[in-house]
């Protein structure tokens, strides 16, 4: 039970920077998710915390203890690997009890703790099997059980669900969340899947090229992305991004989204844009939706022909084109859509995101 602190953490492979000057405080009992595209340094960060990767510079504290020079075995963290990393020559029971056996824990105590883990994870009937006789989901459970029995200061998960099929992944996601509530321990979880990040995290860290792009709660990073990268990375389908010229007419500011398609700038943002000629506009698909009326002041309306429609049941995703870029809109009360049909769309002006076209950062 402990907090984990990273101070100015850097990892270089030769000239290649994997993680750059990372500062992070992870309080006890937080479920922290590191998310980002492959190669962004998230796994390297996790492996540095575990002690499997040497640190180029900076400091790592686990429970207020500097662990830079400590071996993985002395850090009291548990890790769950992407490929499960079970010991193939040991039975499930032996796999679970291995770390305790190494730590020379009393046999009765081992028995007791393995039993607990087996019950929590529903592995009762599998105890005598070897890993090769288990399915992917069962192996993942054993890997988690192996982490649990140690009662570590922190759990480290390295893309634990990416080898499972979609259905099992959803199921295991729920189980991991429940597990966290039950165990009350710090969890650091690495994934490239933003849905996993959103559903599991107390706090999300979005990384790219070794840097932290944004830290915040799932709702925060979803509603207030700090730059274009975060905006497109979090949320599914990704946020629609459009480059727009700023046009001033009658003392008002408009964004030119396409030829003769002018979207008015919300008044609250107008003062920020006086120096700009060009911006990047981000609109989430749920904020562009088909509408029957065109009267509200909070909305801007435009008509467009449908390129493609993907019915998902609860909603239909409509594809239109603005400036030759594909834009996705969500229709929440689906009806049959014909390709080429002209539809009236409403954009919620309070929900649009305006980014600087050079720095790609939010303007606010």
């Amino acid at each position: 039970m402990a907090n984990v602190d990273l101070k100015n953490l850097t990892k270089k492979y030769g000239d290649v920077i994997a993680v750059q000057n990372m500062d992070l405080n992870i309080p006890h009992n937080e479920f922290l998710v590191l998310v980002g595209p492959s190669g962004c340094g998230k796994s390297t960060t996790l492996r540095m915390i575990a002690g499997l990767e040497e640190i180029t510079s900076g400091e790592i504290y686990i429970g207020d203890q500097l662990v830079n020079e400590k071996d993985p075995k002395d850090r009291n963290v548990s890790m769950v690997f992407q490929n499960y990393a079970l010991y193939p020559h040991m039975t499930v029971k032996e796999n679970l009890g291995f770390s305790l056996k190494i730590a020379k824990v009393d046999k009765k105590e081992i028995e007791q703790r393995v039993k607990e883990a087996v019950q929590i994870l529903g592995l009762d009937e599998l105890q005598k099997r070897k890993p090769s006789q288990l399915s992917g989901g069962q192996r993942q459970r054993v890997a988690m059980g192996r982490a649990i029995v140690r009662r570590p200061d922190a759990f480290l998960f390295d893309e634990p669900l990416s080898n499972l099929d979609a259905k099992l992944r959803t199921q295991m996601r729920t189980e991991i969340k429940k597990l966290h509530q039950k165990l009350q321990t710090t969890i650091i979880y690495v994934t490239h899947d933003q849905v996993e990040a959103m559903t599991l995290a107390d706090r999300i860290i979005i990384m790219k090229d070794g840097y932290i792009e944004q830290i915040g709660s799932p709702i925060e990073v979803f509603n207030n992305p700090i730059n274009v990268f975060v905006a497109t990375f979090i949320g599914s389908p990704p946020m629609n991004i459009l480059e727009a010229e700023i046009i001033k007419r009658d003392g008002k500011i408009y964004f030119e989204l396409d030829q003769d398609v002018l979207m008015p700038c919300p008044e609250s943002k107008a003062s920020l844009l006086s120096q700009k000629n060009k911006v990047i506009i981000g609109i989430r698909s749920e904020d562009i939706s088909p509408s029957n009326s065109n009267t509200s002041d909070e909305f801007w309306y435009f008509e467009k022909n449908i390129d493609l429609a993907e019915p998902l049941g609860t909603e239909t995703q409509l594809f239109i084109k603005l400036k030759n870029k594909e834009i996705i809109s969500r229709m929440y009360n689906p009806r049959e859509i014909e390709i080429g049909e002209q539809i009236n769309f409403a954009v919620n002006l309070n929900k649009i995101h305006i980014f600087d076209n050079e720095t790609k950062k939010i303007i606010k």
Partner: protein, 296 residues
């Protein structure tokens, strides 16, 4: 002509049947037959002198043969164990190296590239009590009296073993290195996080993964070492006073020097049992080790 007999499947496998017949089966039957005769190389007509089981009966009472038999087992046991130990050590060290590994692997295999006869000669001159490198080297450090490496009662066997180990440890290293390179990284990292120090990782994770490779190497090498002849013949010729006589040097002596081929063949058939026993033992171990790892 009988159509059935020369059907196309038979015609197609006939060349290989003939080849195997001429190369293996006929010599095998012939040599097995001669072990029941008093066949002497110098008297070809003795080939037809059938003596039944007499060669085998003589063998059972032959103390020299059973001593050589026992000595061969001892030789096998010590050489295989030491080669395994050294080979494993070298493989583990090379596996740790990140730069220059290929070059080192090549250098390591140099001893295997020399003819065993020449290795025998070279070691004979290293171990020579008079002009040998080793004794001269020891002399520099004050050992005045020459040590009789090749003619000492107890030393000769050890010297041969040293030469054998020098020449062939690389086979173990190469096979075990292949095994080490094939071990997945994850379980080892998991064990390190699980609290294992280097020795515990080796004992609990690396070694079980390596076991199949160890038994493959042992199987191959037990056959190899079991038929040791050249190195012994060159270095000591079985001496002093037959103290380094192994099965095959004895068989060669009886068969070619004494020209007593019938008796020599009887010895060969008994000693093959030894090879089969070792192979069978290691192979069952191999299967068990693979099953342990969940491989089939």
């Amino acid at each position: 002509m009988n159509r059935k007999f020369l059907s196309s499947p038979i015609i197609l496998i006939l060349p290989s049947i003939l080849a195997i017949g001429f190369v293996i089966i006929i010599p095998l039957i012939f040599s097995f037959y001669t072990s029941f005769t008093s066949y002497k190389l110098t008297r070809p007509d003795s080939l037809y002198n059938f003596v039944g089981l007499r060669n085998y009966e003589r063998l059972i009472d032959n103390v020299k043969f059973w001593k050589a038999f026992g000595r061969t087992i001892l030789f096998l046991a010590i050489v295989l164990n030491l080669e395994l130990l050294f080979g494993l050590g070298i493989a583990l060290l090379i596996n740790k190296i990140t730069w220059g590994q290929r070059t080192l692997r090549t250098i390591m295999m140099f001893p295997m590239m020399f003819s065993p006869i020449l290795v025998g000669f070279q070691w004979k001159y290293i171990f020579n009590d008079n002009i040998g490198l080793l004794n001269n080297f020891l002399y520099l450090f004050g050992y005045e009296s020459a040590i009789p490496w090749l003619i000492g009662k107890k030393l000769a066997m050890g010297s041969i073993m040293a030469a054998e180990i020098w020449a062939n440890t690389a086979i173990f290293s190469i096979l075990l290195l292949a095994g080490l390179l094939g071990i997945p990284r994850d379980p080892i990292e998991a064990a390190r996080v699980d609290g294992c120090n280097s020795w515990q990782v080796f004992k609990n994770i690396t070694l079980p993964f390596l076991m199949p490779f160890i038994f493959i190497a042992l199987t191959i090498r037990s056959l190899d070492v079991g038929r040791a002849y050249d190195i012994v013949h060159i270095m000591t010729g079985g001496g002093p006073a037959m103290r380094t006589e192994l099965i095959w040097t004895m068989i060669a002596r009886v068969g070619y020097k004494d020209a007593n081929m019938g008796f020599a063949n009887a010895m060969s058939y008994v000693s093959i049992i030894l090879s089969i026993a070792f192979t069978y033992y290691f192979f069952t171990k191999l299967v068990a080790a693979r099953r342990e790892l969940g491989q089939q």
